[in-house]
Amino acid sequence: MDQNAKGLAESKPQATDDALAQLLATWLTEVEERTIAVDRFERVSAGARRLNALFDLVDDRETHRRSLTLNQTADIEIITVTTEAQVRAIAEQAGVPVPHIHHVCEHAEILGGPFFISTAVAGLTIPRQVVRFANKQSLGSVIVHQLGTAMARLHTADVTLVPIGIPVPERASPVSESLTRLDERMALLQQPSPTFALAARWLERHAPTEPERLAIVHGDIRVGNIIVDDSGLAAILDWETCHVGDPLEDPAWSTVRMWRFRHDEQRVGGLGSIHQLRTAYVDSGGEWDDDRFEWWRLLLTVRWGISLADQARSHLDGRYKSIVMAASGRRVAELEYDALMLLNPTRTTST
């Protein structure tokens, strides 16, 4: 799944928060067949693809903090809200911390796009705050351990339960298929990158054996997509990149340097070590292979670099005009550098 498929559609004018809250209250009252009010509606983030907001769901007895995830239109969904809810239910069942989903609505006409409503989990999500908080509370290695456990639980869930609509590798060979996709995308780069070409050749020559067992892979587990509280990992968010693939993709992605937010020595999200992640993963039944793990680290680093170049392109060709997308074009060199460090001929694998 392309990481960059997020955020590439044209931005649309959005309904005001008050209007959204009112529409939400009307809809909830109808589906729950009792009077429900929506209070303290507060937009958390609004990208090109998704709007996230928190609100109080108030009935005649109680108040619950809830979270609204609204896809701006149905045509840019990577997976549908129903599919996402199904896969999150599988994860929840497997013991992965996921905000519980209470309602799913595929009808775009209610709020302007498909949406779901889940429990609002309290805690921090902004990367710099997460890293600062974790280090101050000495929670870093705890969170890494919880991440390893959560990944293993997800990856040992029965892959045959995966809902229709979740991408599955065509020939059950995620390693070779990912490299093919990478080459296809690299061929479209406006500014060719010798570094990424060197990396692609390396990936081809050092391709590990395909995983014996495919798994449900989240695809974007990293600091920025987790909620952290006093006891560490409270929830894993953002399941739209979920797919069937090589389980080691998840641990590898969480160690990409861009997600360390300047705490480079702590290779897992600026929080802890690869050794800690691996120990927790294996202890919870995950199968680890150093070569495949390292292979994915490089592939995902290069792929993220290409995605950043694509973001700049989407700004330039008008698919999604945004200063953030434009600036992404100047971040490509960071990923080239990170890839080169992984390709260092004198490198010894470090954890």
Binding site: Q191, P192, T195, A197, R267, A327, Y337, L340, M341
Partner: protein, 124 residues
């Protein structure tokens, strides 16, 4: 001819004002966008000073790797080198080491414009 300050100096002070005076006054998405804008202004300032020499040096480095077949246009040179590398130009270990060092140098120069300091971390 324009009076001083020159373009790079103007951009440097514009970036400083954005970063230190404007960004702290803002919140949320607007603050994020202003921070990105400040960063872009700083990048352009460094680009004006460095990119001419960087590009010349990059073309020289690529020509050393590709020999007489190296196109004189930098984008085309990068395309040619990329195709050769993908096809195995760096398969021999000695050649690989040479190519790797060259690319590290080129990318370090790019980072001097886009993100100074990113190359202080050399492990991984």
């Amino acid at each position: 001819m324009q009076n001083e300050p020159d373009a790079a100096e103007l951009l440097a002070i514009a970036a400083e004002v954005l970063e230190q005076e404007v960004v702290p006054q803002l919140t949320g998405t607007t603050q994020h966008h202003a921070r990105v804008a400040a960063n872009l202004v700083a990048i352009i300032g460094r680009e004006l000073r460095l990119s001419g020499a960087n590009d010349e040096q990059e073309l020289l480095s690529l020509t050393r790797l590709l020999g007489s077949e190296c196109p004189t246009d930098l984008t085309q040179a990068r395309a040619t080198l990329s195709a050769s590398l993908r096809a195995g130009l760096g398969d021999d270990p000695d050649r690989y080491a040479e190519i790797w060092s060259t690319l590290v140098k080129v990318v370090r120069n790019d980072l001097a414009v886009s993100k100074p300091g990113h190359d202080q971390w050399e492990a991984d």
